[in-house]
């Protein structure tokens, strides 16, 4: 009984981790989408502000590098490998 409960807990944990990772991917994607649309609008209606959009691009790049490219894994211990 105890063993099956532990296995069920483990299964729930794995499913929860998958959901959390997919959810984080969705949030990052939505944020990138909104920022990209904002960039487009600013670039079309206010070209002189275009240079400032490089800051927005850097902000977007930061999120991709951290959440999609997982730069943190580079400094992870061997326990965090797959």
């Amino acid at each position: 009984m105890e063993v099956s409960l532990t296995m069920a807990d483990n299964k729930d944990q794995v499913a929860g981790s998958r959901r959390a990772e997919l959810g984080a991917g969705v949030w990052v994607f939505l944020m990138l989408g909104v920022l990209t649309f904002g960039e487009f609008i600013v670039g079309v209606i206010a070209p002189p502000w275009g240079s400032a959009l490089l800051l927005v691009a850097a902000f977007k790049a930061f999120f991709v590098i951290v959440y999609y490219m997982h730069v943190g894994r580079l400094f992870a211990t061997d326990k965090e490998g797959h």
Partner: protein, 189 residues
């Protein structure tokens, strides 16, 4: 060799692989930084005369492809092979559409050629180098997809998937800056 030693060995190899990939990406990024600096020096407060809507559309395509690539990697990390294959396939399709949009459409409708002054040189060099990276990324993803189809990856061991995903996102990051530099920054020439 004990199973513990095998796991330790794989973890050490994985750490070295990751470091090697990131060193490659950093060295590759110098090429793109050089191209971007060239754009700033040659065009300054102007930009090539390009279709901004098309630029936005191809950018969104690449953004979607990154989203699906992330899903593919997460699914493989949890051993869900069908979802991994599906998401990788969508990523490949979006990458091909991006290439079609830039090389097949934008290059054809641009009102200047590669030899028509600074804007031509800058535009074709920047998009050409980037498109070449997208093409190699698509080929890499196809190899990974095919290996996944043959069952060569597991939830525990899928470095090939991770490497392809990191490379693909890198190509997306480069485009984030190129999009601003080519389509949004400054007034059209």
């Amino acid at each position: 060799m004990s199973s513990h030693a095998v796991v330790d060995n794989y973890a050490a190899k994985l750490a070295r692989n990751r470091l090697g990939l990131w060193l490659f990406l950093i060295s590759d990024s110098f090429l793109f930084v050089g191209l971007f600096v060239t754009r700033v020096v040659l065009l300054g407060a102007n930009r090539p005369e390009l279709n901004q809507v098309l630029g936005f559309v191809v950018t969104v395509l690449l953004l979607f492809s990154s989203f699906f690539m992330n899903r593919a990697e997460v699914e493989m990390a949890h051993g869900n092979r069908p979802a991994f294959l599906r998401n990788t396939f969508i990523t490949i399709a979006l990458g091909v559409l991006f290439l079609a949009g830039v090389v097949g459409v934008e290059w054809q409708i641009a009102p200047f050629g590669p030899a028509d002054g600074a804007q031509g040189a800058v535009f074709y060099a920047m998009t050409g180098f980037h498109a070449f990276h997208v093409l190699t990324g698509v080929i890499l993803l196809y190899i990974v997809w095919n290996n996944g189809r043959r069952g060569l990856f597991t939830a525990e061991k899928h470095w090939g998937v991770e490497a392809a995903a990191v490379y693909w996102h890198f190509v997306d990051v480069v485009w984030m800056f190129f999009y601003v530099g080519l389509y949004l920054m400054g007034s059209p020439l």
